[in-house]
């Protein structure tokens, strides 16, 4: 919570959002202008329905309440990055939360209507990269961690090491892959459950009280 408490000051920066990537914003008191630019309500934040990721293009906002389970995020991810259509190897994951997820949510649980997309946190100290015996997971100048397909041997150590099991070894190519923050999932989301707020807009909202 220390990160979140400090976040209450008005210095909204990409660095601060990086610390929160993939974490629910519950517990944060966001200003009305910040709520507005993110397209969410204080209640949705308080209920833990809103999660953000710091992407180079802007702040990725996931509003679980708006996710309609269509899986178009996975479809657009794999058409863009893999030249095929798949759920399992998608870098954004919604199908594994759709049926009966390990969190007790999904269509076949008591919380039938709770399902949402999830993706790589781009951790500062990445368990996936640390676990890779081939040193195949590297951070580029943009800070995005990618898998070097030349080095990857498809051992799955990254999948096991990641607390959220985000990197996925493609059964066909035997290579791991993970989110490269391309934004295809956001572009194709038909409900706005996934959206990107440009950093300039985040900064502008932060400067308003």
């Amino acid at each position: 919570m220390a990160d979140k408490t400090r976040f209450l000051d008005k210095d909204y920066t990409r660095r601060q959002f990086l610390k929160l990537s993939g974490k629910s914003l519950a517990g944060l008191a966001l200003s009305s202008s910040m709520l507005s630019v993110m397209g969410v309500t204080a209640q949705a934040v308080a209920e833990g329905k809103v999660t953000t990721w710091a992407f180079p293009q802007g702040l990725l906002v996931v509003n679980a309440d708006k996710c309609v389970g269509c899986q178009r995020c996975e479809i657009n991810c794999t058409l863009t990055n893999d030249g095929c259509c798949s759920s399992y190897i998608s870098r954004v994951k919604v199908t594994r939360n759709l049926y009966s997820s390990r969190n007790g949510n999904g269509l076949y649980t008591e919380n039938n209507w709770v399902y949402f997309p999830d993706t790589c946190r781009q951790c500062a100290d990445p368990a996936c990269g640390n676990a890779c015996p081939m040193g195949a997971i590297y951070a580029g100048e943009d800070g995005i961690r990618r898998v070097d397909a030349e080095k990857c041997v498809g051992c799955g150590a990254c999948t096991q090491a990641c607390p959220w099991h985000m990197p996925t070894v493609n059964p066909a190519t035997k290579k791991s892959s993970k989110c490269v923050m391309c934004g295809a999932c956001v572009e194709g989301c038909p409900s706005g459950a996934l959206s990107i707020v440009l950093w300039d807009d985040v900064t502008a909202a932060a400067q308003q009280v």
């Binding site: 309440d65 058409l79 269509l107 038909p190 706005g192 959206s195």
Partner: protein, 719 residues
């Protein structure tokens, strides 16, 4: 999976599961089935080749074919459908029919690496079929046998793991009730009596996980075409192209209530994080497409928003036609409050309450709350409603006195009629429970209209207490399009001769939405609908509601386009509620849709050039096979040699309703008998069928490579 075998679009493998022997084998898809596309076409080819059409549908020799197509899970929007083909156990002639299922299981199945699964034989004990990529097994299902579909799905999902999807039958299927279905996701179902066929094989469920991928020839093109479709061609559910409520960007709003009910004042009130507004949804914006359809508002009015959590639907579809409700008032009756459904199973539940309903909390909420109870109950027990005929039959039998006449006094006195009279939601559970458990004469309703009318004498005015033939009964609630046991699925009531023609062509309700998506879409008649339809099909092809005109060549073109097009959609597979993209919501496009889009998708996914004409030819092959199989079944099972007389006979009420009007007068939707006979002549000619018998000629069948079907017809003396 296709990424391994190099095939684009198709997965490349057909799975065969024999429950008698336990053998599980695989065959290549394309050599035998490419001409039949997939889905419905593939299923019909399997049944034609492997199951004699006089086979008892519930016997060991009967087969059930689950199938998807080359576009399923290819990234193409609205490609989340699975088609299931089998012999009907309830409609006249006991011929070929389909169940059509949405949800998410079609994607899971395709990702697992299969285009189809042929289920044959019979198991001695309850089983479920488990598919995890190349690992396929027959598993013990004794612990879920006897359970409702929600519990069965939850149990099997939990046991198998969090990436498994499930579809199961309920008690209705287990007890071989003809009016039975299978249920997946949360209220997505496939009907047609498939529950009874699976029940006869002792198959409780299919459990699927697929970690593979569908190989796509031109993935960027598929993504760009999808974006183009969602931005410029898609409207609300049933592709209604104008918003119900005026929006600032829109030239038109709906002239009558339609299925694009999302608007700034329409909220998902029960979203856990507080109400979510549907906002405005301008053309050109992908990220608001899912907010357009608010089916709850269309079905029940704005009161529905009070209980709406979010909207749902099928894999890959940006238009969410299911509303996901949490209906608190049901908790007062110890009933589940979570409900997700769309269309018939939820909107017509008041038919189970022929003496009226009572509101629960708010004025006008009875239809919705009872609808929620009924949808949940039908899915729980796995009962199929035959597109509403189930409860229309109940309603008509009750109100005419037939029901009380046929049910023995002891049983009648034991039925809790007070629940019905009180408008209690537990009544509809009671109805479905009795049907699913085959309890008493009441449960005959589950036989389906054809067998029910025969058993209760409702097909003969001299054999029932009401003194009418219920097929022909001029009654506001009579949906029977003919005497075959199934209703119209948008026929004469709003799609004139065209809708009546294709409503007659199947062995269950037709499930064709080509026309209703235009006739009831809320767009202005002259400025949009008539102009665009005539752009595609020529002058005079399209009638105004309640102002029908005599049949003409261009109307026949429309009927044939719709009939063949439905076969394409259930084979590709694409959702026929959304496709084809006939009318666009875009003013810049002058509201003209894109009927070539399906061929563009097929070309981009498969990597071979397909034109609209290619697609229509392949689809017509399936139409011809359907017709030939229907003729064979009618001969073998009813000794009928004439489909025109014995299959395509339209009910009298279609011509005799609204006696104050003559046909073609403004204000009525009744048809004219002489014009109908002319319509059949013209349609048969357009299809290459004999005008006297309505059976395809050899020349027609050979044109589509169906010489084997012609041989069979000739062997039976039908051609």
């Amino acid at each position: 999976m296709s990424v391994l075998n190099g095939i684009n679009g198709w997965a490349g493998t057909v799975l065969r599961v024999n429950l008698t022997t336990g053998s599980i084998t695989r065959e290549d898809t394309l050599p035998k089935y490419k001409d039949y596309i997939g889905g419905m076409g593939l299923g019909y080819k399997v049944i034609f080749d492997e199951v004699p059409l006089d086979t008892d549908p519930l016997s060991e020799a009967s087969k059930v074919v689950f199938a998807v197509g080359p576009l399923t899970a290819s990234g193409v929007p609205c490609s989340g459908r699975m088609n299931v083909s089998f012999l009907s156990c309830w409609s006249k002639g006991y011929s070929i029919i389909d169940a059509h299922m949405g949800g998410h299981i079609a994607h899971a199945f395709k990702y697992a690496g299969y285009d189809a699964m042929i289920v044959e034989g019979q198991s001695a004990a309850p089983v479920y079929i488990k598919i995890e990529d190349e690992k396929v097994s027959i598993e013990d299902a004794s612990h879920v046998w006897g359970k409702g579909t929600f519990e069965a799905n939850a149990t099997l999902a939990k046991e198998n793991g969090d990436e498994f999807d499930v579809v199961s039958i309920g008690q209705a299927g287990e007890n071989l009730v003809p009016m039975s279905c299978m249920v997946t996701s949360f209220g997505n179902s496939g009907g047609g009596g498939v529950g009874a066929l699976l029940g006869s094989k002792k198959v409780k469920a299919l459990v699927v996980r697929g970690t593979g991928a569908v190989k796509v020839a031109r993935p960027t093109e598929v993504r760009l075409l999808s974006n183009y479709m969602i931005k410029e061609l898609v409207g609300g559910n049933n592709n209604h192209p104008v918003p119900t409520y005026p929006q600032s960007w829109a030239e038109y709003s709906a002239t009558s209530a339609n299925r694009w009910a999302g608007a700034p004042h329409i909220h998902w009130e029960k979203a856990p994080g507080g109400p979510i507004s549907a906002g405005e949804q301008p053309v050109g914006q992908i990220n608001v497409a899912a907010m357009r359809c608010n089916k709850g508002v269309f079905d029940f009015g704005e009161i529905s928003t009070k209980y709406t959590v979010k909207v749902g639907g099928c894999s890959s579809c940006p238009v969410r036609c299911y509303t996901e409700y949490d209906m608190d008032p049901l908790a007062d009756y110890d009933l589940p409050t979570h409900v997700s459904n769309t269309c018939m199973p939820i909107i017509k539940m008041a038919e189970w309450y022929p003496e009226g309903t009572k509101d629960f909390v708010d004025e006008g909420d009875a239809k919705m709350i009872l609808g929620g109870a009924g949808a949940r109950a039908a899915d729980e027990y796995g009962v199929w409603c035959n597109y509403g005929n189930l409860y229309e039959d109940f309603n008509m039998a009750y109100t005419t006195g037939v029901l009380q006449d046929v049910i023995p006094e002891d049983e009648w006195n034991e039925i809790p009629w007070d629940l019905m009279k009180d408008g209690d939601p537990r009544w509809v559970y009671e109805c479905y429970r009795r049907i699913a458990m085959k309890e008493g004469v009441f449960s005959d309703l589950g036989l389906g209209t054809y067998r029910l009318y025969e058993k209760w004498g409702m097909d003969d005015a001299s054999k029932n207490v009401a003194g009418v033939n219920f097929y022909d009964f001029v009654h506001g609630k009579n949906f029977n399009i003919g005497h075959n046991g199934y209703p119209r699925h948008h026929g004469p009531e709003n799609c004139w001769q065209a809708g009546t023609l294709y409503s007659m062509m199947y062995n269950r309700d037709c499930m064709v939405h080509h026309m209703i998506n235009v006739t009831s879409n809320g767009a202005p008649f002259e400025a949009v609908n008539k102009r665009v339809m005539e752009h595609f099909f020529g002058e005079g092809c399209f009638d105004k509601q309640k102002a029908y005109t005599p049949i003409n060549e261009n109307k026949i073109k429309v009927a044939k386009w719709a009939f063949n097009g439905k076969q394409w959609h259930d084979s590709a597979t694409l959702c026929n509620w959304m496709y084809p993209m006939t009318i666009s919501p875009s003013k810049q496009r002058e509201y003209i849709g894109d009927l070539d889009l399906d061929a563009k998708y097929m070309s981009a996914v498969v990597g071979e050039d397909y034109t609209r004409e290619d697609i229509e030819f392949m689809s017509e092959r399936i139409s011809q096979l359907l017709r030939a199989m229907t003729a064979i079944s009618f001969k073998l099972n009813l000794d009928s040699s004439n489909l025109r007389q014995d299959h395509d006979k339209v009910s009298d009420w279609v011509f005799d309703k609204e006696p104050d009007f003559k046909p073609f007068e403004e204000g009525t939707v009744k048809l004219d008998r002489e014009d109908w006979e002319k319509s059949l002549d013209m349609f048969y000619e357009a299809m290459g069928w004999d005008k006297e018998t309505g059976i395809p000629t050899r020349e027609t069948l050979e044109k589509f490579g169906l010489a084997d079907a012609a041989d069979k017809l000739e062997e039976l003396g039908l051609i």
